[in-house]
């Protein structure tokens, strides 16, 4: 599914075709909760098969930004989103886009592992298909997804055990496997390692490196070290504003903005 070289769908490209197509483009994105402008005018682009890390202090709008990318704010009655989010050149916030179908292209992994407690390990991985009414033998897909999530060897002998019997780190990799099973193109990760111990965190980070070959990944993290370790690009949010975005190395060694420098050097946040 990762069609790196394929151009954006015909008819959706505005003006001249871009030289190197971006997988995800965000233009003047604003998210409002009632009167609170949680994300202010964010504009950025992500190339295919790269990792973008979104950093910033608590409450800076980084999770809100991430959730706008697969329309999870649709669930919040008071939330309002303006601006554009384009995946492969197609705007997600137009009337024609069904958020349900969109979420199969843009998968998401949450802060806390959230396997379905009534399902076994195997059922959890296949949940995206089974819950959508696609029955049949998903064993091969389950194995492939678990291998991609680096969990197969640990759970292959207890696929029919309760998902909640796994450790926290395993549950989070299970959540990743579940997200991968629906074969998304973009993977959103909302502080995927913040509830995990250092060893489990290392496994997740290693995994991100491997997943990058097939997916475009946007990861929100409050750990600057993690951002530095896993990402190609880094975006710094502060008070709802996208302060600066650039190659990760530059953001951490030679930021252009004063606020970025203060944050990455630990003066606040």
């Amino acid at each position: 599914m990762s069609a790196v070289a394929s151009p954006a769908p015909a008819g959706t490209v505005e003006s001249a075709p871009a030289p190197a197509p971006n997988k995800v483009e965000v233009e003047n994105l604003n998210v409002w909760f009632g009167k609170n402008n949680a994300v202010k005018n964010a504009t950025l682009a992500v190339k295919p098969n790269t990792v973008l890390a979104v950093i910033g202090p608590s409450g800076c709008g980084k999770s809100t930004f991430l959730r706008a990318l697969n329309r999870m704010h649709d669930l919040v009655p008071t939330a309002r989103v303006t601006g554009k989010v384009l995946v492969d050149g197609q705007d997600l916030y137009t009337r024609e886009v069904d958020p349900v179908l969109l979420r199969r292209r843009v998968g998401m992994v949450f802060q806390r592992p959230n396997p379905f407690p009534t399902m076994s390990v195997e059922e959890n991985v296949a949940a995206g298909l089974v819950l959508n009414g696609i029955r049949g033998d998903h064993h091969e897909l389950v194995e492939r997804s678990l291998r991609k999530a680096a969990l197969w060897d640990e759970v292959k002998d207890r696929l029919n055990h309760a998902a909640t019997s796994l450790s926290g780190g395993q549950q989070q990799r299970l959540s990743i496997a579940r997200a991968l099973a629906i074969e998304p193109e973009v993977l959103l990760m909302d502080e995927p390692a913040s509830a995990l111990d250092p060893i489990a965190t290392a496994k997740i980070e290693e995994l991100i490196h491997e997943l990058k070959e097939h997916y475009t990944i946007i990861i929100v993290t409050h750990s600057m070290q993690q951002a530095a370790r896993v990402s190609d690009q880094t975006a710094f949010f502060y008070m709802g504003e996208l302060v600066e975005m650039g190659p990760t190395e530059q953001i951490f060694t030679n930021p252009k903005e004063r606020r970025t420098e203060d944050y990455v050097t630990g003066k606040f946040g």
Binding site: N70, M72, L75, V100, L101, L102, R103, R104, G107, M108, F110, R112, N114, P115, F116, P117, T118, M119, S120, A127, G128, L131, N132, G133, R158, N160, H161, A162, T164, S165, S175, R178, A179, I182
Partner: protein
């Protein structure tokens, strides 16, 4: 030191009060069980479960038709009441924050406070009068109306405590809203909802008033939904108000059978809702 001693004393006194309250709560429960078992157990026999009632003065006979009638009518009431009750609960929990939800919730609360005899009259007017005779169906409708409001509110509460993170997980997999509601949220709440259903069923099985002038009674076997049907509760009522000593004994035994039925439902609910997965907590 004095405050410490005082605190210890207060603690002891409060613990003692709790223990007294516990014993107080146990007295009615144990006395009901004791009375029903001591007076009813002697009448238990295979015949009592399987035979038709016999006229006064004749030895033997049972309440087989009433037992079957109760199971039959409660079963029929479940077919009507459980989907409506649980469905309404899902609606209230998932979409019930608007004016419509508030109205439904208010109605359910009012309905659950309506005395069962009134619901009997309603079923009489709705089913018995148009059909021109008493029937099992009329009894089931009355029992279903009894079940729905409590079940709806109980299901709503149980569904509301399912963590929101599971809903997010499901929606993020591209699962539609209604499938998420039924196959993730309701499924996660299954253990509680099944228990709520069985409690509603047990309560319905123990109702007399809604059946008195809907299903009426029947001295014979009946499996037709449009004929009058015997039930355990009405049988107990009729036996208990009769002037005959041997019918009083039958009332006690029938009461014991009813208790056993309700107890069985409770045990079944526990067995059914045990998590089938290995290593589940």
């Amino acid at each position: 030191m004095r405050t410490f001693a005082l605190r210890k004393l207060t603690n002891l006194a409060m613990t003692g009060l709790c223990a007294v309250a516990l014993v107080g709560a146990f007295i009615p429960l144990t006395s009901v069980l004791y009375l029903v078992i001591s007076k009813g157990a002697s009448g238990l026999s295979w015949d009592f479960f399987t035979a038709l009632p016999k006229p006064v003065g004749e030895a033997g006979g049972g309440i087989g038709n009433a037992l079957v009638g109760t199971l039959y009518m409660v079963g029929l009431a479940c077919l009507i009441g459980l989907p409506l009750g649980v469905g309404a609960g899902v609606f209230l929990a998932e979409r019930g924050d608007g004016p419509l939800g508030n109205t439904v919730r208010f109605m359910a609360e009012v309905l659950s406070g309506v005395p069962s005899i009134v619901i009997g009259i309603v079923a009489y007017a709705m089913v018995v009068i148009p059909m021109h005779h008493f029937s099992a169906l009329a009894g089931s409708v009355a029992l279903a109306i009894m079940m729905i409001p409590g079940l709806a509110r109980a299901s709503e509460e149980l569904i509301r405590v399912v963590p929101g993170s599971l809903r997010e997980a499901s929606l993020a997999l591209g699962v539609t809203n209604w499938r998420t509601s039924f196959f993730v949220i309701l499924r996660t709440a299954t253990a509680g909802v099944v228990t709520a259903c069985l409690l509603a069923v047990a309560r319905a099985a123990g109702e007399t008033a809604p059946l008195l002038f809907t299903a009426l009674n029947n001295q014979y076997w009946n499996f037709s939904p449009v004929q009058p049907t015997a039930s355990l509760t009405v049988a107990i009522f009729n036996y208990a108000i009769s002037p005959y000593e041997d019918w009083h004994a039958k009332a006690w035994t029938a009461a014991l059978v009813l208790l056993m039925l309700v107890g069985l439902l409770n045990v079944a609910s526990r067995a059914l809702t045990r998590n089938r997965l290995k290593g589940a907590r």
